[in-house]
Symmetry: C2
Subunit: 180 residues, 2 copies
DNA sequence: CGCAACATGTAAGCGGTTACATGATTAC
DNA sequence: GTAATCATGTAACCGCTTACATGTTGCG
């Protein structure tokens, strides 16, 4: 499932512009699926070119025309087809863990700085989760609740693990033997 | 940190061939950093071209020459420099969670199949972790232990969450209203 | 007889990131 | 005045994936 398909899925919630979708990628999808304008706008163009969405241009004074995309029946079929893949992947690419693998080559201060940074990133996610929840969960689908809960659970587990085990990663490292 | 740098880091453990490194990417690094031959061999060539590793060709009968790469002082400096980045990222890209966001458009059976598949993937990781541990952890660095523990903790948290919450994702969906 | 393991590499392609390009409005 | 928000897009680039290409040894 690529950015195109996710955009299509988001449009089942109602018509939206590329700008709107970007905000959704940053909020509810922020913890597991990143996409910038450079992916979103071409994706929407492609969906329109392939007749999966319609586009309504709304003139605005000062600002560029707002383009409201709306999913159509062909788009809904395409999405449903994509959702039939029962083996969707869940990929992690962690430069953080890679760095920790080589902690014995680093200086103690740097290791702790890396861990602090990771904890702060996790905090940002947890704050994001709180913001999302505050904006009302009454009309949420079970799927959306499941995904949010998943993010919260995993973030909490990571935070606890780092806090409980950071002390094992030395204050004084073997960096000297590596440099000299 | 890219594949090049991770290869360089792996070589601090001792000389190795591209084939050897691939196995390490599959085992200890399997849960957070994927790389195939198509990335590894060009990475090693690049490292050799840039004087960060030396290469010893070992003739073998029948098989192609085995190329043993060895990190040198320039390589060690390069690695140490890369490890000074105290903001290494930890990226997740989950088609699984994206799919679950649209669970209300899916049929109940398919949703459960997706969850079953995810659980089986998690099981595979946990089995991998067990295999790694059985091959002796006595000479492991604290960093390696930390990373393995991190993987185990996160995998366990995911598994528990999915098992405890899968029942919220309906048996009978609203798929009919989406198709019709 | 076939498959897994050993062993190296190239080339095309794909998907996403980053930087660039533009510009009005509103809030501090 | 200056930063953020609204609003859209292109083009170059980068890094990784996938498919292709080759060939032996040894096990069941």
């Amino acid at each position: 499932m690529d950015v195109k398909t996710v955009c299509l899925g988001m449009l089942t919630d109602g018509p939206a512009s590329g700008y709107d979708l970007k905000k959704e990628f940053e909020s509810s999808f922020g913890h597991f699926f990143a996409a910038g304008y450079g992916s979103i706008y071409p994706a929407l163009s492609w969906l329109a070119d392939n007749g999966l969405v319609s586009c309504e241009e709304i003139a605005q004074d000062g600002k560029p025309d707002r383009k409201l995309y709306r999913i159509n029946e062909a788009g809904r079929q395409f999405l449903l087809e994509a959702l039939k893949n029962t083996q969707p992947c869940h990929k992690v690419r962690s430069e953080f863990l890679a760095t920790m693998c080589f902690a014995h080559l680093m200086e103690g201060e740097d290791i702790q700085a890396v861990l602090d940074h990771r904890l702060s990133e996790i905090s940002r996610y947890r704050e994001l989760f709180r913001n999302i929840e505050q904006e009302g969960m009454c009309d949420w689908t079970e799927g959306a609740k499941f995904v949010l809960g998943f993010g919260k659970t995993v973030a909490a587990a990571m935070e606890t693990y780092i806090k409980e085990n950071r002390h094992t990663l030395a204050t004084e490292s073997t960096a000297k033997s590596a440099t000299g």
